[in-house]
Symmetry: C2
Subunit: 337 residues, 2 copies
């Protein structure tokens, strides 16, 4: 049987209150007393029962992390960063993976985080008002990664700006007929980037006086196959594009495959730009927009913890920079393959 606080108190010859104070590093404990307690605790290999502590204190030392997927690059990176930051701060990480539309509905219906977390972190989910309200009912601070909303703490990149940079790169190369492969914003599991990246695409075209052509904007799943199918539709156009901006690297991979299967070359016949700087982007020689995922994760976690601790007053929105990485999929000279 594991030792309890009473065992430690007895061994150290003090009260359980003193044990509690000493172990938590509270002030107003004599150094000698603290040492005795620490020694006794070490001897008994004692750790406080988190549940008893949580029940008594009301603090859970846990944050709920909500992601739509864990097995996609972006979210895996996010979890990695958040986990490290939480662990260092002594917080537990309760993971909620929505998985699909049904899982998402169930989640917001049941709100399984109720009464068990001190803070919630939402990663790149498009939330409707009812969902924001459900989150608010948790009455604990909520941090947003990859999206923003007035009154909420958030960290993100500027997707519009990133997409603009991607498409500007193509227009600067002389392309004028540029296809867009984007996420389906009607998908119940859609996350935030698609809307913004599309706006950036249109903005960059407008800068060079090109009117948006609806036929050049095709939507699909944020996956390799989704990108491949979308690219096929673009290539089948009577007047196909000379360049493609894919809203994610994975979609871009599918596009590269589709272009090659059509017997065309990248970038000579079709130039391709992705978004993310996925771990395999260099390998695929893909020009892309790098976004600092780990930095976003660390930033939002640190600030969320600060809010949960009562520091930091008003919720701010932090925007981290993106960066164009030119590789062989748009410029043979920049090829790393």
């Amino acid at each position: 049987m594991a030792a309890s606080i009473e065992d430690v108190a007895r061994l150290a010859g003090v009260s359980i209150a003193t044990v509690s104070r000493a172990l938590r590093g509270l002030p107003d404990v004599a150094a000698a007393t603290r040492d005795r307690v620490l020694t006794a605790a070490a001897e008994l290999d004692y750790v406080a029962s988190p549940f008893a502590a949580r029940l008594a204190s009301g603090r859970t030392a846990t944050v709920g992390v909500v992601v739509p997927f864990v097995n996609r690059w972006f979210f895996a990176e996010v979890i990695d960063g958040v986990e490290a930051a939480l662990r260092k701060a002594g917080f537990d990480l309760l993971l909620y993976n929505l998985g699909d539309a049904e899982g998402r509905d169930r989640f917001f219906d049941v709100m399984p985080m109720r009464k068990r977390v001190d803070a919630v972190l939402i990663a790149s989910l498009v939330l409707d008002d009812a969902e924001f309200e459900a989150l608010g009912a948790l009455s604990c601070p909520v941090g947003l990664l990859g999206l923003e909303r007035p009154g909420f703490l958030s960290t993100r990149i500027d997707d519009v700006c990133g997409a603009q940079a991607a498409v500007r790169h193509l227009t600067s190369l002389g392309h004028r007929r540029i296809g867009l492969i984007g996420g389906d914003t009607d998908d119940p599991m859609s996350f935030t980037p698609p809307l913004r990246r599309r706006d950036g695409y249109r903005d960059a075209l407008a800068e060079v006086g090109v009117d948006p052509d609806p036929a050049l904007e095709v939507l699909g799943y944020f996956t390799i196959d989704g990108g491949g199918e979308a690219a096929n539709r673009l290539l089948a156009l009577p007047d196909p594009p000379t360049a493609i901006f894919a809203e994610s690297d994975e979609m871009a991979y599918g596009a590269i495959r589709a272009v090659r299967r059509a017997g065309l070359r990248v970038p000579e016949d079709v130039a391709i730009v992705g978004f993310d700087d996925h771990v395999t982007a260099a390998l695929m020689d893909l020009t892309t927009i790098r976004q600092p995922v780990t930095e976003q994760a660390l930033d939002i976690t640190a600030r969320l913890l600060a809010v949960a601790a009562g520091d930091e007053a008003n919720p701010t929105d932090v925007v981290l920079p993106t960066q164009l990485i030119v590789r062989g999929s748009t410029d043979p000279a920049a090829s790393v393959a």
Copy 2:
């Protein structure tokens, strides 16, 4: 303020004990009483405080999931599967990501799961005796995914057999000089596959009467770059291999890149086989060994929960099958690119 069990009891006109029983679906509650309680609870939007319940019952309804990485394909898939299974069973998932050797030491030193989980799931970590002992001190069932140990519950694939199939495929194609790109088993973060896959490689060579050549076995990180560097060393050999077996798809990607950069063709000059059937393997046209990751995750989770619940007696070792997937990196005719 959230409703407590007393509020529900008052509204339903019963004692808190009855509320507790009714809400948990215990027998010996009159149907009419149960209905009244359920109605009252719904009206107050009541959910039990998990910490109070855990403190009182001793059950945590939580399982700790320990992974060396979350941002690698295999582990992301594992977490995905485990999370779904746990959520369905009403369990919380506490995630522990070791990250690096230091994080790993800290983990086994502090044992942060102490007193907070009903079961532990370890994914593909090579554990030493001291670490197994530390896990045992948790005095809760431990499930192993991707490794086995007498006395422990486990689910895995047969890495030896999978690697044999990979290398047999190469020998059946006529290759005799086959390089191995493997994980460094001395890496403190090494996981289980490397040792076994190397054995399978040697076995398959022995089957065709080829003696192992130490120069053909090179080690590195389980990453794209690790595979690339290892392949470079193989290609620099006086008598380079005509085929390469990489112990993971990511290492195989690096090898493909290295071969191409050396001005050679895949598979004509160097055939390459990977292991995993990573999500991008089809895209890379890589021949590989498919392993059922989600199935492993679901299997071990279900059985671990059964043990934690007191069902299922003795810990068994379940081995799931692997499958050779032939693509263009070994056979031009099978190319999907």
